[in-house]
Symmetry: C2
């Protein structure tokens, strides 16, 4: 055991119809070493998932022998990808990666599941050869579809993507969404591999939740290849070879291999035992298992000793950098005082400009993903200019979110747009996992807040700040008008990282300076973490963002007429937030936050935290959405929640004691 | 038009093989009136969804003639249910409900989509006859499955549930999850009806995202009945009758009817036009449409006038009350100082007690829903005691969340348990819609926080407070030890409404008083909004909850030894929060919040808001999870984030300036 950078074992499946005796004997040895590692690693860690690791190890070992990859250059662009959707069978992954020279056996066995090591319980990209951080089931096929699509978009003709999935995992609805997408976009280079061991953590898949796996893939239009024994190298090879050569199957559609396997295969007392899905052997049993495998059981003690002697520096493991394209942002569009449009249209225009400047017949840099709302989110212009860069995913937001996230690590600037309730509330956990993968996704959500109006509370997104504040990597930007939208969208396209840009549905007047010219004029540049003083005032400050800005400026007007001189601070950058301006406001006098959002989790909460942390606390009131809205005109809904200009003005006066 | 409480039109499908001429002529008249209402309502509202309303109206009109229902008693327990999963075809729903006497035509036409009216853009239960508030697509079949299951659980042998769905909607993955559940639990009384008009908002379903609807249902094991023209009453009747009589289909499985229809059917220039999915006719066109229907176009003006004259009181429309069962909470279990267990086990024990006391062979009151984690969330005892009350949904959290929510409005106390990342982050939007339906769901999430340990960041739920604070109806409770868990779980079972109870993975010592006896002893009663002073102190206060409590008490010990007298406040009720105790702490001196959660969106943010609102601001610091955790022992992860007792003690000393 334990050879670093060993010669990569490979099999030329194009010429070799069946495995040779030599192949088999070599594979058997690799298998024995791998299973021993699976047992040793989980037993020494005291946790982990040996059962599924052992059922899937044959296919994994074979796959790496058949695909194009380079352990010396794990991110080689032309490589075939193996994405482990079942992130919990990390012991199998690390075993195979050690076998093929990506990592050392020593690192795996001494560090597995220890804080600070990349050899985590669920696979992470910090380990060379791992394509995607996974753990929550059902998202892998979506990420794999993005990789297969990226391979096609980059013209990597022979490059393939393999997604390794569990059979319990097939229960997740998102997989059905990914299947349809893969068929629609002809992802013939996408291969699913299902480890059909008929067990999941709760017992038999038939008891927990039956899925007709093959029938469902067939119904979706996939090729289905069944291997009656996935723990037999020869049979497994036959199935993989048929898939790779596309023998007797449709060449233009994706393919799934369903491998009938045995959980815990290779150790008599582990086989077909659901409990070994997620639990390791005790030390004594582990030694028995090693003996059964013909491996020296003393290895367990040896590795235990080495593990104890290995100190891991407690650092956060970083994913490898993913290239972000150089995006030209073009000439901003300035909307004059006379313009009456919505931020959505300004977004659509800017996105169209970005496509014109950056996308060409030779190369696409800016991509768009929509969920049956192309018209509502104003992506038609982009679609028309760059039809090959636009992906209509249908009403499949979970898949769309992961697809867009994974595409954004492939050298594209990806815009994902739909209504706020779908772009954030429905897909929060998908974005969370994308963020763990250090994606560069641009989520542009429209129809936020009560401003969505008559569609009613199911469609009123009043929580997007409160939700996205929990995802460390996301910036949150809320433009105040079409001009600021234009500038923020261009900024978002240019920078790497995850960015949220939000807007309502209604038309918004162009924000003007007191002299009547556009506030966000051609000299304006968006800077994250910098708020805009739309109006300066000496008595109090209204702090707001997004669709309520016209009402806030209206309140300012009312108060001005009544002789109360207040400032208006536009907080377009909510994360990072402009702490200095908030403190400045607090030093002036009372502060009133206003938002088409729940105040405690939105700007109201953010401002309160800043004040307390800085120890400068003004008289304070937060206005916002304090109960679910009704179905009606936004104007009426604002009034019902005290967000109309008159109510805002009254609130200011109340707080100022005038 | 306009007859209130008209005699309900009905057809005895058991005896009548085909519709009579008289039936047909009556249905045609109902259809004409209904389509006129669809056009008038949307044109006058200036928004809405006429197209799908017109494609589905024949089936809806027929269905209400064939099922058992009572407009005088819309919530009659033995009724058949019609759940509109496509909430946007509210104009069809209200038309049919007006036709059958549930509401008046006048209310619908004068109030549609106006703030304060129950006649919302997407259907809400505030309208008699509406079974479920919908709007976000793909959740209806899950809610319908819950209703069909409830009908079975209540022994309502003939009661059926019909779920009306769109064909675009079939793209949502959650539907695949619901399908499998319905087959597993033999919901033969569940009927899906798919309005297959081949159009969705973005155009042809084949262009947007092809779905092989019939093949997918068949692959899932459903009966599939196809009607080649769903806008032909006779053909539609034939299909509905076959479904209801279970002719030539499997009697024990659910059935879907796929009705081939025409969007905008009945008005020549609207037919097959995707734009009328979500847009009304202009006034002129509306009059032309009415003329084509043979309806007086002057009606449009008449209703416009009436609409203008109708004032709607801007109130929030409430869903009808749903009965909550009387739950006996039994004798609390008190865990002694010597006990070493986890809150999960205390939850499992309490739930088992609740089943023993409240569930019987005759009646089930407490139900449990799990997602392939029965053992991990400790539901085995409950499952064993009450096997018929336990539902294993598999790795299908979206379906499970809606199922559990909808079941909780059927007179059951429903406990939904899985890991935090699945119970909250993955299913946030499902809970949001359940809350809009005023459900009584008990979400008990385990494995919260860094405390989940080696499973790593994909499994570390560090945002649950930050997320759930955005759902108005949810309480958030975080027990400090097994004793408090026991009391909170019993409390949650007893009270109506949505309750979240959260806990980590690890064993927690029993919280003790300074005299060494259990703090939450047999005299303790859980009261929401009341925090627990675990220790009183004069110099500063540590405020904390959940899994960090042992570390916080450890810090207290360290500080005590060093002569710093601090208090420890356990904030088990985070929503509602105990404002008075926070203020009391602020008056004592510096406040340090500690949590296994992102501090800005958790207790740290909550406390800051309270301080600012009350204008009493102490020296403040919030400790928590400030970056994604690693995969390792919870102890190591706490140390990495400064949540170990030593770091906490240091932070207190720093803030106190000692």
């Amino acid at each position: 055991m334990g050879r670093r950078n060993r010669a990569v074992f490979s099999i030329d499946y194009k010429t070799k119809e069946v495995l040779s005796e030599e192949d088999l004997s070599q594979l058997e040895e690799m298998w024995r070493r791998s299973v021993a590692r699976i047992i040793i690693s989980t037993t020494l860690a005291g946790s982990g998932h040996p059962g599924g690791s052992m059922s899937s190890i044959h296919a994994l070992l074979l796959l790496y022998a058949m695909i194009r990859h380079n352990p010396q250059d794990p991110r080689w662009e032309e490589r075939d990808r193996v994405l482990m959707s079942i992130g919990h069978i990390s012991p199998a992954t690390y075993s195979v990666l050690a076998e093929y020279g990506y990592i050392t056996e020593e690192q795996f066995l001494t560090e597995f599941r220890r804080a600070g090591s990349p050899c985590a319980g669920h696979v992470e990209q910090a380990v060379p050869g791992v394509e995607w951080n996974t753990g929550n089931l059902g998202q892998g096929l979506s990420a794999g579809a993005a990789m297969a699509l990226a391979q096609k978009l980059k013209g990597l003709k022979d490059a393939k993507t393999f997604v390794f999935m569990g059979d319990g995992e097939q229960q997740k609805g998102q997989i059905a969404e990914a299947r349809r997408f893969a068929v629609k976009y002809g992802l013939s280079n996408l291969f699913g591999i299902v480890d059909r061991n008929h067990l999941q953590i709760g017992g038999s898949t038939e008891d927990v939740m039956p899925v007709r796996v093959r029938e469902e893939y067939e119904a979706s239009g996939w090729n289905v290849i069944y291997c009656p024994n996935g723990n037999d190298f020869s049979l497994c090879y036959k199935a993989l070879r048929q898939a790779l050569l596309k023998q007797d199957i449709e060449p233009e559609v994706p393919t799934v291999l369903v491998l009938r396997t045995t959980m815990g295969y290779g150790v008599s007392f582990m086989e077909d035992q659901a409990k070994y899905h997620g639990a390791p052997l005790k030390k004594d049993d582990a030694k028995k298992a090693l003996e059964e495998l013909g491996v020296d059981p003393g290895l367990l003690d040896e590795w235990e000793q080495k593990r104890a002697n290995t100190h891991i520096k407690a650092v956060h493991c970083k994913n490898p950098e993913a290239a972000y394209p150089k995006i030209e942002t073009g000439v901003p569009r300035v909307y004059g005082a006379e313009v009456n449009t919505d931020c959505r249209s300004a977004y659509g225009n800017a996105l169209e400009d970005l496509a014109k400047i950056n996308n060409s017949a030779d190369e696409l840099k800016v991509l768009g993903v929509s969920c049956d709302l192309e018209g509502s989110v104003k992506m038609q212009g982009f679609h028309k200019v760059s039809p090959d860069a636009f992906f209509e995913v249908g009403i499949q937001e979970h898949h769309a979110a992961v697809l867009a996230g994974a595409l954004s690590r492939e050298g594209f600037s990806v815009f994902f747009s739909t209504f706020g309730v779908f772009a954030v509330a429905e897909t929060y956990n998908q974005h969370r996992l994308s963020d763990l993968n250090d994606t560069h996704l641009k989520v542009v959500a429209t129809h936020l807040g009560l401003d969505v109006g008559e569609d009613g509370p199911t469609h009123q997104s009043i929580d997007y700040v409160g939700l996205l504040r929990n995802i460390f990597g996301f910036s949150i930007f809320m433009p105040a008008d079409p001009n600021q939208t234009d500038r923020i969208v261009r900024y978002a396209a240019r920078v790497p990282g995850n960015v949220f840009v939000g807007m309502g549905r209604s038309k918004l007047p162009v924000v003007l300076k007191e002299d009547g010219t556009p506030f966000f004029d051609d000299s304006y540049e968006f800077v994250p973490g910098r708020a805009d003083w739309l109006r300066r005032g000496s008595k109090a400050t209204l702090v707001a963002y997004g669709s309520v800005i016209p009402e806030v400026l209206g309140a300012w007007e009312i108060l001005k007429e009544q002789g109360l001189d207040v400032g208006v601070l536009n907080m377009a950058s909510l994360k990072p937030v402009d702490r200095d301006s908030l403190i400045e406001a607090a030093k002036i006098g009372p502060v009133i936050t206003v938002e088409d959002h729940i105040p405690e989790t939105g700007l109201g909460g953010i401002a309160a935290s800043v004040f307390v942390e800085e120890g400068i606390v003004p008289k304070f009131r937060s206005l916002g959405v304090n109960s679910y809205g009704a179905s009606g005109k936004p104007k009426d809904l604002y009034k019902m929640q005290g967000l109309d200009r008159e109510s805002i003005a009254e609130a200011v006066k109340g707080l100022c004691g005038t």
